[in-house]
Amino acid sequence: MSTKFTKDHEWVRMDGDVAIIGITPHAAEQLGDVVFVELPDVGKTFAAHDDMAVVESVKAASDVYAPISGEIVAVNGDIVDSPEKVNEDPAGDAWFVKIKPSDLSELDGLMDEAAYKDFADHG
């Protein structure tokens, strides 16, 4: 399936029955140089919109919210060790977590790429 987006500038991409989640290039650019990432523990569960991770840039700390409900099945240790990767490849290698969704229909409420682009440009 295609990538979906939230108003909080996270992206979600299904890979089999697991959702890969990250922040958008737009968000990474707005944050500025990322210097620290705090990720949740594997096994933790979140409801959609719960704060799930923290990104600190030279400017400020920002929460990253769970786009959909589910259980964390993997986290990306690379971005904890090298936070600058979030600026380099936010839509690819610098994913944050993988979630096993508890309600796939939540994805329907998210924006597709065109809608997100319009939102990010004007929102």
């Binding site: 500025g32 140089d33 210097v35 600190e56 840039s57 030279v58 400017k59 400020a60 700390a61």
Partner: protein, 384 residues
Amino acid sequence: MSELKKLPLDALHRELGGKMVPFAGYEMPVQYPAGVKAEHLHTRARAGLFDVSHMGQGWLTSIHGTGTDTAHVMVADLIETRVPGEIRKLGRGRIRYTVLLSDEGGILDDLMITRPAADEDQGRLFIVVNAAVKDQDFALMREKLTDGELVVLEDRALLALQGPEAAAVLSEIIPEAADMPFMSMMDAHFDGLPIILSRCGYTGEDGFELSVPAEEAEGVARRLLEFDAVEPIGLGARDSLRLEAGLCLYGHDMSGAESPVEASIQFAMGKRRREEGGFPGYDRIARELAEGAHKVRVGIKPDGRAPAREGVPIQSTDGHPIGVVTSGGFGPTYDGPLAMGYVAATHAAPGTQIELLIRGKAQPATVVELPFVPQRYYRGKKSA
């Protein structure tokens, strides 16, 4: 909320791609397209141009006349009733950093006081105060310093050129700038324009501040930006630079509640002044100097990578609250998180292990000596 004021360089900031944010009543550039980290590193490596026109500038003049050394003593004695700095013995053309005190000995602001060099200017002091409290500072001076006349310079801009190449750049325009001592001031000509030039700043680097007429500020800024070494720098990098240099930000690292002893800025109080007093709150300050303050400002190095921001509670390793972070973030030159804050005097010694409650979780940290990055002020010509 009153309307935000615009800086004399507003149009230039926007042309340069500055991201404008509200700060101390002004719309100010927080960063340019290069970003905070690059701007910070550029200032440490070459030269950064900062617009600090939001700060308050003024002349305090003795009503008993000017033009003699006696006149200087009169105006110095006047300001010494509100600041603990040694102003009377300040040399001609020299600048002093000190604080404006409340009657309780709390810090109302930190400020720069300059004794001009020229004969005819003796009996006058050039004063630069913080933007957020300038109206309050000037009102207090007018109310308390009744033998002085305060002229606030509303129509002047203030530009800071900071970094290891600042002197080389500026001396191409003003040759005499090259050998100015740190914390000195001179009347200078910038391409024919009379300016007040000071060798000082707040980044920990060598550098200058140029007080120029507001309508000439854009021309001065553009001329400096013509140099390869010079890039415009926003408030974001200004904050990380001064934090690495261990310098206080008024309203954060000190406030009306804290004394200069608690704020660890004893150097803002002259030796004679500490012994003789004659400034507000002297009883408290003398006691703290003799016995030590209950809490003091210290440098804090988080052991992990998570930055501790302002407001983060500090506790002892056995879990007792001992203080709070007043400034914190990430230092691009230091290449790690860094913070300053107040801790109980019992935990203020460098090397003391403490804990920072970052998002509710206790994270280990260490009290360290300030500054985080060595200051590189100009100390005069090195002998060959």
